[in-house]
């Protein structure tokens, strides 16, 4: 069974997402809404990591046999300049979408396994991740015209 590979991957990706949100919150502190929301969402990701703990313990961990192909990495250095916010958010969006889809796929497995505990953990967390993706989309759509057309 390869589910443990995905569980491990999901837990790691949530950790990377948390650190990416923190990087953006720190780097874009002059955008107060970005700072506040990213800080809050980072905490949400931390909680997701914790929630996955008992499940990973139960299914055991398994090394990813193709780590170089399917991976998610945190935002390295934040950018600067007029496009910085947009591009940093876009990177985080990529990662959050990856996490979102991973929850979905793990959820499929949980349903097929009839593992109700796992399904419950997934339902609430997946919904939260979807809101994270939606917030990133909302914020980027707001920022894009100004950044791409008039910002110097």
């Amino acid at each position: 069974m390869k589910l443990p590979v995905y569980l491990g991957m999901l837990q790691r990706a949530e950790g990377e997402l948390a650190s990416s949100f923190r990087t953006v919150a720190d780097a874009h502190g002059d955008e107060p809404d970005v700072r506040a929301t990213c800080t809050m969402l980072a905490e949400e990701c931390d909680a997701h990591v914790d929630a996955l703990g008992p499940i990973v313990d139960r299914y055991g961990s398994q090394p990813d046999d193709e780590p170089e192909r399917l991976h998610a990495v945190a935002l390295p250095e934040p950018r600067s300049g007029p496009l910085a916010l947009l591009r940093d958010l876009q990177d985080v969006h990529l990662l959050a979408s990856f996490v979102d889809m991973t929850w979905t796929l793990v959820g499929q497995a949980a349903a097929a396994l009839r593992d109700e505990d796992l399904q419950q953990v997934i339902a609430a967390r997946e919904a939260e991740t979807q809101v994270q993706v939606a917030w990133l989309t909302t914020r980027m759509k707001q920022a894009a015209p100004q950044a791409l057309i008039v910002a110097g």
């Binding site: 107060p32 809404d33 506040a36 809050m40 969402l41 707001q142 100004q146 057309i149 008039v150 110097g152």
Partner: protein, 827 residues
């Protein structure tokens, strides 16, 4: 005669539940004049708060000489409060008024003519449009213009310039009221009516110091409290306000924890079964999710988080859950605090859970601060679209394009209109280079003033300021335009409970000052804005033209004005919308039938996630299938970002005093009001004062991470651990835009740039500060003693009085009270 500085609310005219509120006509004329001396009485309403009290302006020899409340008006039944009595006319007619346009020459503002001033504006505007396009332009407007003026601004901004960067100071005052109603009901539109005060058994005031913010509305409550069967009152406010003193339960929550309390109240009401399951099933969606969200909030947990007594929370829930008719009002204590929209939605939810909405005594009043904030939201000169239209609904954009004669693409609708805080951020970053500020004073009212002053002073920004006076903000302008004020121009405006008033022109504006509408029309002409068919974009010649165009914009919408006319509005009372063929006399309450504007094509908004502000979007909204049902929305409580720590151990909260409005441009020019509250102060509690070794009147420095103020201290009734400052006190009397080397006094020197994720309303009521003594007292603090700023030791400070100068004639019960539209004569 009554001293209405000492006796703010005047004499009582008690009444009982189900009776009509008795009339009391309040009148104040200039010294030495009597009613017979007046040449003319001109129809108007007071423009100094959102209550919209109907009045007549006394005119003698071409000058405004006083005011008299209108006995027949549904809003006030003849009464006026201190601001209306003393400042409405004296605050406008003053030697300090701007009488000629000013332009900046060699760094100085110098007088010029209109052609030169407008020429400069148009030149810069055209140049930027050609070089950078419409996103280089921003408009920051007000809550104090008239409906006709907002609608002109909306059309100029959206169909002339084509910029999404338009907002008003309504963002600071009333954005959350609109946002919470959009989330819960699908659209802005006040469910309740003031006459619900006459009918209710219980009243909940959430962060609403009604006694000071809307004095005449509070008179109505006081008169109920003085009569038989008074309503039970519950007050949520960290300060010991007059409202708190009249309350059976006062929940003095720790600032920033409103949502924890609200989640707890909802949980208790559900747990005790005080809900109407049929109503919930028929008229709402989202009950299950709501229940899950509030589940953790036991009474004990609320008590701990909010620092209140669990038993008090339980009693409040019980009063809400068991009263037959219950009215809720909400204002800045919720709107300007953390998680504003989520907290205000929970108020809506409480009413929905019990089906207590839209019937006599069962009401919600999501309040406004400013007199015409409602019109800005309706007309769409702020972050809304005209006629409560939805930027995510292509049909709505098509309707506007048809009304305005332009292509749909001209109207920005790719994202929500830019909110004020973001507009200033774009100015800071230099991507907005043209900012037009009308009738508002951000150099005093915005959060984090050191930053705002820097932005306004930025070289890259071409700043136009249009106002009555040379405000702190106007001092930064490249062009200053002198505007006509209240009584000097004609137009309509709408109060909190949807009541529309006409304000006629009583006198000529001073010097060359022009009405805001004329200024906008002139700009549109000079910019040569046209419809696609080649006709001018705005071909109106007078306010009534604008009003008629607006009526067309509202046809078929919730905010229907089509049944109104200037003539009808001269009939002795304001009229609440919707007013149309079906409701020719207007509509007292909304949603009594349990049908809400959540159908796809009626909705003004598809809503947001209340925790983050992520938009729901058309697809998901359709999938919700609300279809006329209200939406029970909720969010988990999340503590604010700036909590007190060792360095900044106090919570800081800001607010107003009864004697002033906003940045005092009008109220400080009434000597009666100015004497009552002449300069800034801060309030601390007795235990904190003792610990810090400070006494009444001592000069203290209050500092946050962003700035400081140095003001005398009032040792008062504020919560332990909290410092309160009134926000009115800027620097114009010192002929300055900021403190310079002098003493800083403005509450917003300290506040943080942070806002609610949904309404984008700044959080002006939560910050961390420290406080230290600077010098000994030379006298008591200049704070009034008959309001929430009263001293803890009454003997320590002489009482606030106005004396003979503040005497007002009150004539109780001179006529029968007026009857609201749906209430018939059968009571």
């Amino acid at each position: 005669m009554v001293d209405r500085i000492a006796n703010i609310w005047g004499e009582r005219t008690a009444f009982s539940r189900g009776e009509r509120w008795p009339v009391r006509v309040d009148m104040r004329l200039a010294d030495g004049l009597s009613e017979q001396d007046v040449d003319d009485w001109v129809t108007s309403a007071c423009l100094l708060c959102s209550n919209g009290c109907g009045l007549e302006i006394a005119v003698k020899d071409g000058e405004m000489v006083g005011v008299r409340g209108r006995a027949t008006d549904l809003v006030n039944h003849g009464r006026l409060g201190p601001k209306g009595l003393f400042a409405s006319w004296q605050g406008v007619r003053n030697a300090d008024r701007l009488t000629r346009p000013l332009v900046r020459m060699g760094g100085e503002l110098v007088e010029t003519d209109w052609d030169t001033a407008m020429g400069r504006i148009v030149e810069r505007s055209k140049q930027l449009l050609a070089e950078k396009g419409p996103l280089s332009h921003g408009i920051y407007t007000s809550g104090q213009l008239f409906l006709e003026e907002y609608y002109a601004q909306a059309i100029i901004g959206k169909a002339g310039l084509g910029t999404p960067h338009m907002d008003g100071n309504t963002r600071l005052c009333t954005a959350t009221a609109a946002a919470s109603m959009k989330e819960s009901f699908g659209s802005d539109g006040q469910p309740g009516s003031y006459s619900d005060i006459d009918e209710c058994d219980a009243m909940f005031l959430y962060g609403h110091n009604m006694a000071e913010t809307q004095t005449v509305l509070w008179m109505r409550v006081l008169d109920r409290l003085a009569g038989p069967n008074p309503p039970r009152v519950v007050c949520v406010d960290p300060r010991e306000t007059e409202v708190a003193r009249k309350a059976e339960v006062h929940l003095a929550v720790r600032p920033g924890t409103n949502l924890a309390l609200m989640n707890g109240l909802i949980r208790e009401v559900i747990a005790q079964g005080w809900i109407d399951e049929d109503y919930i099933a028929l008229h709402t969606i989202g009950f299950k999710e709501l229940g899950e969200t509030v589940q953790p909030w036991t009474l004990e947990r609320v008590a701990e988080t909010c620092d209140v007594d669990a038993e008090d929370v339980r009693r409040a829930a019980e009063i809400f859950g068991t009263s037959d008719r219950v009215l809720s009002t909400v204002l800045q204590g919720f709107y300007q605090s953390s998680q504003a929209t989520a907290s205000s939605c929970q108020v809506n939810n409480l009413h929905l859970l019990r089906g207590k909405i839209g019937t006599p005594g069962n009401g919600i009043l999501q309040m406004n601060g400013q007199p015409t904030a409602q019109n800005n939201r309706e007309a769409g000169a702020d972050g809304d679209l005209s006629g409560f239209r939805n930027w995510e609904n292509p049909k709505h954009i098509e309707q506007l394009a048809r009304l305005w004669g332009v292509h749909t693409d001209k109207i920005p609708h790719w994202a929500a209109p830019t909110h004020a805080m973001q507009i200033f951020r774009y100015c800071e970053q230099g991507s907005i280079e043209f900012l037009w500020i009308t009738a508002t004073n951000p150099a005093v009212s915005m959060p984090q003033l050191p930053r705002i002053r820097k932005i306004l002073g930025q070289e890259s920004l071409f700043l136009v300021v249009q106002d009555l006076y040379l405000t702190e903000t106007a001092r930064y302008a490249d062009v200053v335009l002198p505007a006509a004020g209240w009584g000097e121009k004609q137009g309509t405006f709408t109060n909190v409970n949807r009541t529309v008033h006409l304000s006629d022109k009583a006198v000529e504006p001073p010097g060359e000052a022009r009405s805001d509408l004329d200024i906008f029309l002139d700009y549109s002409r000079r910019m040569d804005f046209r419809r696609d068919d080649g006709r001018p974009l705005l071909d109106w010649t007078c306010p009534e033209d604008a009003f008629k165009a607006w009526q067309e914009c509202t046809r078929g919408r919730l905010v229907d004005y089509t049944g109104l006319s200037y003539e009808k509005l001269r009939g002795g009372t304001g009229i609440p919308w919707p007013c149309n063929e079906e409701h020719p006399d207007g509509t007292n309450r909304l949603y009594g039938d349990g049908i809400f504007p959540t159908e796809f094509d009626r909705a003004e908004s598809f809503g947001h996630d209340l925790l983050t502000g992520a938009t729901v979007g058309p697809l998901k909204f359709r999938a919700l299938q609300a279809n006329g049902r209200a939406i029970l929305k909720a969010a988990p409580y999340h503590p604010g970002t700036e909590a007190p720590d060792e360095e900044y151990p106090f919570l800081y909260s800001t607010g107003r005093t009864v004697f002033h409005f906003h940045t005092r441009t009008k109220t400080a020019r009434s000597r009666q009001l100015n004497r009552a509250a002449p300069s800034a102060w801060v309030e601390v509690s007795v235990p904190d004062a003792e610990r810090l070794g400070i006494g009444e009147g001592d000069l203290v420095r209050v500092a946050s991470r962003r700035g400081e103020i140095v003001v005398p201290v009032r040792v008062g009734d504020v919560r332990e651990g909290t410092v309160f400052a009134p926000f009115h006190y800027g620097y114009w009397e010192r002929d300055r835009s900021g403190p310079g080397d002098g003493r800083p006094t403005t509450a917003n020197e300290l506040t943080e740039t942070e806002w609610d994720p949904v309404s984008k309303q700044p959080i002006l009521k939560v910050a961390a500060v420290r406080i230290e003594k600077v010098a000994d007292a030379v006298g008591p603090a200049p704070a009034p003693t008959n309001t929430a700023s009263r001293p803890a030791d009454p003997a320590a400070v002489p009482p606030t009085v106005g004396g003979p100068d503040a005497e007002v004639e009150e004539r109780p019960r001179v006529t029968e009270p007026p009857v609201a539209p749906d209430e018939g004569g059968d009571r």
